[in-house]
Symmetry: C2
Subunit: 206 residues, 2 copies
């Protein structure tokens, strides 16, 4: 099956599977049934089986999945057996939290350059990174091309930053600005907006 | 129609509608068609109409939606015409970024108390907040009950913190810890995990 033939919603569940398999492994388990996996992920065993069937068979009927084998297969499918380098634009509070967030490094994502337009942070060091001027974005990306860009600038600047990243070879955008960005076909975009999640929950709070 | 009869997936799209209507308003528009709204949100006009039909009619065939009316109606449906108070647990880098994130306040979410277990931050002031000891969680929530709890503690402590918040009246959890939390029926849970979003995108990067 071709990469593009797998429904995006299925792909988006795979990282959750990896996360849960990892937890099971830490709990000392070595085999898991689709029913148990479904329960952990608040879904059904048939959805688990259907999702995994896109990538070939992973277990025998009745014996459950070998956790390490399944996890390693999914990690390979998701291209997680390498470190992915990330360019960060916007080093305010959110950007600084991202630089300091060790979860990125532990999971194979490394912020290797950070840009801002404010003289207050340009030249300053966060973790091992020295913040560069946004004016150097194009030059730096030419020297060290990266696949992933993280955007944590104000909403009104986010689209311009996004365009500049894409024009310089970035193929996946993680957007923290509270705005819907437009990206060309074939470019990956994910938006992190806690306010949207809060606003959904408040629907149920009255 | 009862609150619980609206599919959760529909509810989860409403905040995006509000966000987009707000952008359209700022662009000087006063009326929008379901087709235009669909295009902005990368969905179809029929989905927009179907989603909104759960809450009654909002526009006349052919004339489009009055942006202010629709936005105000959706805000009312989502209970956004009030300030929601939030208790934050975990004042590391992520927690500090949340306290300093002005997007929460602008959107009607106010972190009114923050807790941590580390002597390094207990008693310290971030923004207008003085961090309290996690030991005071129960007492503080008795004095000032809140509906929403934000969790930004390490993964291994997140479930315990979650349980304590819920046991003390919190009904919605915004979880930043990289772990799937378990909550009782009727409690809202949303998880913010950028790594899961990155891991989905890397599928497409090879």
């Amino acid at each position: 099956m071709k990469k593009e033939d797998v429904p995006e919603i299925v792909v988006s569940r795979l990282p959750l599977y990896v996360q849960t398999l990892n937890h099971l492994l830490k709990e000392g388990k070595s085999v898991v049934s689709s029913a148990e996996l479904g329960e952990r992920l608040k879904t059904t065993s048939s959805q688990i089986r259907r999702d995994l069937s896109y990538f070939g068979g992973f277990g025998k009927q009745g014996t459950g999945y070998d956790i390490i084998t399944l996890m390693e297969s999914l990690r390979k499918i998701l291209n997680l057996n390498q470190t992915w380098q990330v360019a960060l634009v916007g080093v305010g509070h959110v950007g600084q939290a991202l630089i300091n967030y060790d979860g990125f490094n532990r999971k194979g994502f490394e912020i290797i350059m950070a840009f801002d337009e404010s003289p207050k942070v340009i030249g300053k060091k966060f973790g091992n990174l020295v913040v560069k001027s946004i004016n150097e974005l194009e030059e730096e990306l030419k020297i060290k091309p990266v696949d992933i860009g993280a955007i944590s600038v104000p909403a009104e600047n986010a689209q311009e930053v996004c365009d500049r990243l894409i024009n310089n070879g970035v193929r996946a955008i993680l957007n923290y600005a509270p705005v819907s960005l437009k990206v060309p076909e074939g470019i990956q975009l994910a938006t992190v907006d806690p306010v949207l999640k809060l606003q959904k929950m408040t629907y149920y709070l009255k």
